[in-house]
């Protein structure tokens, strides 16, 4: 591999290269060959072993070994089993599943059929959020084409293996990305998680053994059979093989979708592939793993990204959203933003998550308004740890991560909010003041004319004055002043 090229496209191998609405182009790009070979040349056991050998781990966030998951479902005896594709992408800032379904839907269909053969299922379901109309449309087109070609349906490749796929729509609830909640939602029940065990592999959709995998995980499957498990395992690190797709967003120059081998460092991703921070500002933090993840800082930049390293750093892989923050972002506000999201998305079934996150949010709100005490900081940490320990599902077990990781990495900022009632980044509106710098003011009236609440007074060519009791801290005066006569403190 040459020095400056860091990306390898495995899951995204066809995205942006083939026409997603043409099965012919997919077949020309080795499509359905893996399915054909698995069905005609391998037993389900051998095929499953190949996935185990490849070391592929679930790309939806948890990182559970995919082959092992398949093997468990394969060994359970049942008259009916199901394969489910989890396309309920809910992390703010992550869009790789949508891109794969919009750019290469056949790869997911092919992988689901392989999965069906391995575990002994003849039926697949794609659980996709209704907010992805284009992905749904392309997936439907692809399903029709595959049926027309006989690559779905009965007696596929003349082997007697039957498999077909249906689409199920989700209403966009974050918790439905959790597999038990997803299954409940597909059955027409409320999207609430249930205790594990029993795992879906034992009792899932309609009480039957069900294997649930994420879109990106499926997109990797055909490649493993076409290129071999050994080839796949040679990419990435020992315990996290293959590549990972990341959605770069936030204050970064090259916002977009990238795919790098596991073990690439954050520095390479952000500064080399991502092109660095917007407007030449200073890097402050990167949030990985969405609302379940944490904020990593400068000291983590050289950590190789894989499932275990990210967990150790207090964040997680999640589905692969990466939101980059610069010096102007306030970490208390960031934590509050994610908590706001979790509070909204908590299904309400278990108390720690339903009530605990709400209280966590309230504490953060008090702190960001400058009314917090050191005692509140202690409470924040204790409560966060209790929520992690006692919640029922992955949502609650990870929701305090953004708070705890920002407390670990940006303790000074929390202290500044509490002890000095000051927001170092100048983001918390209740803690900042706009004032006229008298020496610089020339009385041009630009600020007064642009103030939406008319709280700036002063005659033309005389020094102006801001009435603090009326100011809403919108910052309009600061932006409009051409004489550097407005200060923010």
């Amino acid at each position: 591999m040459s020095e400056n090229i860091k990306q390898i496209r495995v899951a995204l191998r066809n995205c942006g290269f083939i026409n997603p609405e043409s099965i012919d182009e997919y077949i020309a790009a080795d499509g359905y060959e893996a399915l054909g070979r698995v069905l005609t040349e391998k037993t389900p056991e051998e095929a499953t072993k190949e996935i185990i050998d490849s070391g592929l781990r679930g790309r939806g966030g948890g990182g559970f070994p995919t082959g092992v998951k398949w093997d468990i479902a394969r060994k359970v005896e049942s008259d009916q089993k199901y394969v489910v594709c989890n396309a309920d992408e809910g992390d703010p800032g992550a869009f790789m599943d949508r891109s794969i379904l919009e750019g290469d839907p056949h790869s997911v269909i092919e992988a689901m059929a392989i999965n069906g053969y391995c575990i002994g299922a003849d039926k697949g379901l794609v659980y996709i959020r209704a907010e992805y109309p284009l992905a749904i449309e392309r997936l439907k087109t692809a399903l029709d084409q595959a049926r027309e070609y006989g690559l779905l349906g009965e007696d596929i490749f003349g082997t007697g293996f039957n498999f077909d796929i249906e689409i199920r729509y989700g209403a966009g609830a974050f918790v439905c990305g959790e597999e038990t909640a997803l299954i409940n939602s597909m059955e027409g029940h409320r999207g609430e998680p249930t205790f594990k065990p029993p795992f879906p592999a034992q009792s899932g959709y309609l009480g039957k053994p069900t294997n649930v995998n994420n879109v990106e995980t499926f997109a990797n499957i055909p490649v493993i059979f076409n290129k071999g498990a050994e080839w796949f395992a040679s990419i990435g690190t020992e315990k996290s093989t293959g590549t990972k797709v990341f959605a770069l967003a936030g204050k970064i120059n090259n916002v977009g979708l990238i795919e790098v081998p596991m073990g690439t460092t954050l520095r390479e991703v952000i500064f080399e592939i991502g092109g660095g921070i917007k407007d030449g500002k200073k890097f402050k933090s990167v949030q990985t793993g969405g609302p379940s993840g944490g904020c990593l800082t400068e000291k983590h930049l050289d950590t190789p990204i894989d499932f275990d390293n990210l967990l150790e750093s207090g964040s997680m892989m999640g589905s692969g959203g990466m939101i980059v923050m610069d010096e102007d972002d306030c970490m208390v506000s960031v934590a509050r933003f994610y908590l706001d999201f979790t509070v909204e998305e908590s299904c309400g079934k278990c108390t720690p998550c339903r009530v605990g996150n709400k209280r966590l949010y309230e504490l953060l709100d008090i702190i960001s308004k400058g009314n917090g005490s050191n005692n509140d900081l202690d409470k924040l940490r204790n409560l966060g740890e209790v929520i992690i320990d006692t919640s029922l599902c992955g949502l609650g077990q990870t929701s305090p991560n953004p708070v705890l990781s920002t407390m670990d990495n940006f303790w000074d900022e929390y202290l500044a909010h509490v002890e000095d009632q000051r927001c170092p980044a100048g983001q918390c509106k209740d803690l900042i003041r706009y004032e006229v710098i008298e020496e610089n003011c020339v009385g041009c009236t630009a600020c007064a004319r642009n103030c939406p609440v008319n709280c700036i007074s002063g005659e033309r060519k005389e020094i102006h004055h801001i009435d603090q009791s009326l100011c809403i801290k919108c910052g309009a005066c600061f932006e409009k002043c051409r004489f550097n006569a407005i200060s923010v403190s």
């Binding site: 090229i5 390898i8 496209r9 942006g16 997603p20 054909g36 750019g103 990238i258 795919e259």
Partner: protein
């Protein structure tokens, strides 16, 4: 289209499809076709890729360029949408970013018709599975 009844069927089909594509794109013969791919995922469409695709389809025909215009999924360059890949017969494909109607016009007139390079090329920054 006939059903794929066996692995041999599929392989035959693949070979035929591949040779069709390579005949179309790689022959140095003047009849070799220009291929334009417009990234048409949600992100591209939101940035105006539909208009750009229509512009290419209509104008390449109007200006007598023998070309195929197709859509693809996301190429990953969200910051530079709409993105368009242009492949001249017998040459490596080139990806352009920030392609609006004006840029599309420039690409047709300069690059496609005369083979002159046009600004705004996004360098290839990944490896494909075949090379690795």
């Amino acid at each position: 289209m006939a059903k794929v009844k066996s692995l041999a069927d599929l392989k035959k089909m693949k070979e035929k499809l591949q040779s069709d594509i390579s005949l179309r794109e790689n022959s140095k013969h003047p009849e070799g076709m220009v291929r334009v791919k417009v990234a048409m995922a949600t992100c591209g469409i939101a940035s105006g890729a539909k208009d750009v695709m229509e512009f290419f389809t209509v104008n390449l025909q109007k200006r007598n360029v023998d070309a195929i215009v197709t859509q693809t999924g996301c190429m990953g360059y969200c910051y530079a949408e709409p993105t368009v890949e242009v492949k001249l017969p017998g040459q490596e494909p080139v990806v352009y970013g920030f392609v609006d109607i004006k840029k599309a016009d420039e690409i047709i007139e300069k690059y496609i018709k005369q083979g002159e390079p046009v600004d705004g090329i996004i360098p290839v920054n990944y490896e494909t599975i075949d090379k690795k």
